[in-house]
Assembly symmetry: none
Homo-oligomer: 409 residues x 2
């Protein structure tokens, strides 16, 4: 059976931009490979969730992978924590965390503690703590980043962030967001943890050293994005597809890992503008005989839109396009099923995710082509797929392989 390669450019879709003569970055980009693939494929417009819904990257990916976020999403924390390498258990409550700097009145001076080199030592100080019979698991990420997981009975993710999200404001207490007792007790654990962490961190030798050097100290734990780990059927159980993920950024690895995909590391895959996209695509091709489904995530399109850089986004797409050359011949020989799309639109002029559709093409084995010969937001309006929803994508691809279960007789 032919392997499926799914490439998601994060935030691929965009809006007509004045500086690009009212083209979108994707429309304006010179991208002969992506255009050729769209030409020999079938195109359309993807609503990740449904028309008019403006998705975060977490729910967008769940939806595209066929996991209805209504049932498979209870906050971002678990996907991040999983991406940091923490093995989550059902019922865990997880957070994204920053090491931050607060003054003696608990006013936030720096939300990233001067992008401190490492949070390793601090994560070790927290990891294994126990508060009110709740075990704390901590894992360091890059720089100031740290994932926190609470493990115990009756935890709730319905609690507020301690991160005020802006400087010059005091840190926040975590509050229960429902009347439920579990929310109240979980918020209490978080607040006790925050106090304890301050006491452990504030006078730590590393911070004394930093103070001497005039660097912001890492004396507070800023938590956000509480989420509960749910039960997930694996991709293999759900679809009978052996799946791998190639991604730079933690969230996407975390989602893939929770769905039981194998996480394949590629050197230089950073999820940033200088990421080793060539290596990622080469790796996907190398994996394709051994795996049925390879999910490749490319992050920089989203980051550039959120930074309001549509021209850089266009240039990034152009640079990336050249690495698609080996995929073109595989598609033309019908040796793979390739689909390229985004998880949502990120409008460069607004610098936010929007609910605008995302162009999509599917090319290779079994595909009925259409007349569209350019990959773009507006060219794909005339595609043979029409408007499709994320929930239908994996089923569509499995059908191309000829492996869909028969309904009826």
């Amino acid at each position: 059976m032919k392997p499926i390669i799914l490439v998601i450019f994060d935030g691929l879709g965009d809006r007509p931009i004045k500086a690009l003569n009212f083209q979108t970055p994707l429309e304006a980009a010179k991208k002969p490979n992506l255009d050729k693939l769209a030409e020999v494929g079938i195109t359309g417009l993807l609503h990740t969730i449904e028309r008019g819904v403006r998705p975060g990257s977490d729910v967008a990916h769940l939806a595209i992978l066929g996991y209805n976020p209504k049932f498979y999403y209870a906050g971002r924390g678990p996907f991040e924590a999983s991406g940091y390498g923490i093995q989550l258990q059902e019922g865990d409550v997880a957070f994204r965390g920053n090491l931050g700097t607060v003054d003696k009145n608990f006013i936030v001076i720096d939300r990233r503690a001067g992008r401190i080199e490492s949070s390793e030592v601090f994560a070790e100080l927290i990891n294994g703590l126990e508060i009110d019979e709740v075990k704390i698991i901590a894992r360091a990420g890059l720089n100031h980043r740290i994932a926190i997981v609470l493990r115990g009975n009756n935890l709730s993710e319905k609690i507020s962030d301690t991160d005020p999200h802006v400087v010059d404001h005091p840190v926040k207490k975590s509050y229960p967001l429902t009347e439920d007792n579990n929310s109240k007790s979980t918020a209490l654990v978080v607040n006790k943890l925050s106090d304890k962490v301050y006491r452990l961190f504030n006078k730590h030798p590393i911070n004394k050293e930093r103070e001497k050097k005039g660097l912001p100290v890492a004396n507070y734990l800023l938590l956000r994005g509480a989420g509960k780990m749910l039960k997930y059927e694996s991709f293999l159980e759900k679809y009978n597809l052996k799946a791998a993920c190639i991604a730079g950024a933690g969230l996407y690895k975390g989602i893939a890992k929770i769905l039981g995909m194998e996480i394949i590391e590629v050197e230089g895959a950073t999820g940033k503008i200088d990421s080793n996209i060539k290596g990622k695509i080469k790796k996907a091709i190398d994996l394709s005989p051994a795996y049925d489904f390879i999910f490749v995530h490319i992050k920089a399109t989203d980051s550039l839109s959120e930074d309001g850089e549509p021209i850089q986004k266009k240039i990034f797409i152009e640079k990336t396009d050249q690495f698609f050359t080996p995929l073109v011949s595989l598609v033309k020989n019908r040796e793979i099923i390739l689909t390229v799309t985004g998880d949502h639109t990120t409008a460069s002029d607004l610098k936010i995710h929007t609910a605008d559709e995302v162009p999509i093409f599917v090319a290779g084995f079994g595909v009925r082509t259409d007349k569209v010969n350019k990959f773009g937001e507006r060219s794909c309006q005339n595609g043979g797929l029409g408007h499709i929803e994320g929930a239908n994508l994996i089923d569509f691809l499995i059908n191309l392989r000829g492996e869909t279960k028969l309904y009826g007789n």
Copy 2:
């Protein structure tokens, strides 16, 4: 009111085929009438059930006729048995059956008893038997084919086949597929019936005669496709349309009969490649003043795809096209509403049903045309109907007649 003629080519849709220069059989076929009808009509792509669902012919037809298989489908058996002429009652459990040949160790030697000339005598031996207060109804079909119905209280269709579906394997016991007592007792009836039939058939004079001639004996009843007869609102009750069906193959007649359509026999309508399509279309036209809705079923497109014969499928479509000539003028004069589609795609390269959309056109009275002027999988991508689901088709057609019930005021 203008009569509706619905022509379903079974398994009409296909995929680009190398031997046809990557056209589908329908695209490659010279079919001036169907193209003209698409041109003067409105076109689109039909998802019989919904995107990504790969339907059997039974559920596909129910869906297209507006009977949601979620509520109107519990196995294929009843539709087959109804096609054999058995009047089913709600709660009956029905099977497709073959007369087969087993050796003394109950290993299947021939699943069709050498395609024995007739199963009449054997059906009569079974018909009217009673086992555990369950009445057995049997009706002979062509050659080795025989329909079996169980009638009694608390029967269940959740039981396994006795047909192993391959030769050189032993016959199977029927097993309950649920923990339910009704499944257990129904499976027991089937197993007792199988034993009894073997005793009745094995030494029957016809079989002694066959043995002498070196022909495979018909000494076992191979059952498959258990299904329960549900309650069906008739087509007339549901839509206020007086309906007729013209079909060769039993399944389609059976479905139509269960939905209360009149079954109109046409000489030479066999459901095979040599079927009298000309006669079927002529009959549909003749019936059209007296009936509001005429369903014409053409089977060979599916059979040819399942046999991996895309070129023969193309030729069959070409041959059939010529018989559509009288429909063209009726459509042009807006005297009828004609729709032509398939119940699913059958991919000739994979030799299976797939979930790929099926092209559809609707032409004649009340239709807004579009720019599509060819009837094909890809040309219809640009049709005015867009992507539509089977569930919406009959309502669309009734609306053309101007007979849709008003919602609101």
